[in-house]
């Protein structure tokens, strides 16, 4: 019996399925990924160097729309870092080296998370340990 020896004309490999899959992957990653970079700030749980029971000498109250008061003195957000640094320097005198002073942060009224984060960030920048206090 004679069997046909299949024609040996090889077709080139089809690329269409490959392209389909690559396009799908591309679409998925384009739609699902973001380019924002996130950071974190610790708001609870003591970082290293904070003694348990150290009583905050600073009270930073966060009011709405970027208004703050530090130990009763009214401040705007732009002045916050500078004032906190001044206080930090003054309080650092007479404390042991490397101690991180706490500052109690309280949100008042309709303060937003943005205002609160501004307060925490400024405190960290001034070398103070921000402690959030709920009312």
């Amino acid at each position: 019996m004679r069997v046909d020896a299949g024609t040996s004309s090889r077709k080139p490999l089809g690329l269409t399925p490959l392209i389909d899959v690559i396009f799908l992957l591309l679409l998925f990653f384009m739609l699902a990924s973001t380019f924002s970079t996130y950071a974190r700030i610790q708001v609870a749980g003591a970082p290293a160097g904070v003694g348990v029971g150290s009583v905050p000498k600073l009270l930073l109250r966060v009011h709405e729309e970027g208004a703050y008061d530090l130990n009763g003195v009214k401040l705007l957000r732009a002045d916050l870092s500078q004032r906190l640094e001044e206080f930090a320097k003054r309080l650092q005198v007479g404390t042991e080296e490397g101690a991180v002073l706490p500052v109690a942060i309280v949100a008042v009224g309709k303060a937003s998370v943005d205002d609160l984060v501004g307060a925490v960030e400024a405190s960290r920048g001034a070398g103070l340990n921000a402690v959030l206090v709920a009312q």
Binding site: P12, G14, L15, L18, I19, I22, F23, L25, L26, F29, M30, A32, S33, T34, F35, S36, T37, Y38, A39, R40, I41, Q42, V43, A44, G45, V62, A107, K110, A111, S112, V113, D114, D115, L116, V117, G118, V120, E121, R124, G125, L132, V133, A134, Q135
Partner: protein, 137 residues
């Protein structure tokens, strides 16, 4: 005059540069982007400029502008969220990871403070707030 007849080229050849480019774009998005959940896209976190420790919002507790909490795509009450994280800490051998909170910049600070306070009382390892790095967008 007789012009030479153009040779017939196989059609698939034209697609190869296209595939190359698409591959490159694919690799770019794979490397440069980070995958986030839908929750992270609906919420605008506060911006910080000084803080540089990077973080990904995976497994975070989300708080929208109204102060509503969302966890893993579902609305959750503060009590349930605190219970969940407390149980998670108790089951983790090394005390678990800090709880991440991804709060909208317009969310009421008092609502956030309440959640942080409750988490603190539940002895979680720490609470971190996720912010957007300024200038990075």
């Amino acid at each position: 005059m007789r012009l030479p007849v153009a040779k017939k080229k196989p059609q698939f050849e034209n697609t190869i540069p296209l595939i190359n480019v698409v591959f490159l774009i694919l690799i770019f998005f794979l490397l440069a982007g980070t995958l986030t959940t839908q929750d992270a896209r609906d919420i605008k976190p506060p911006e910080t400029a000084r803080i540089t420790e990077s973080e990904v919002p995976d497994g975070a507790l989300f708080m929208d502008a109204g102060g509503m909490l969302k966890f893993r795509g579902e609305t959750i009450t503060a009590e349930n969220a605190v219970h969940w994280f407390a149980a998670d800490v108790a089951s983790a051998p090394d005390g678990g990871a800090p709880v991440k909170i991804f709060a909208d910049r317009a969310a009421p600070a008092k609502a956030l403070m309440t959640v942080v306070e409750q988490l603190n009382r539940a002895n979680v390892k720490g609470v971190v707030l996720i912010t957007l790095r300024k200038g990075a967008q």
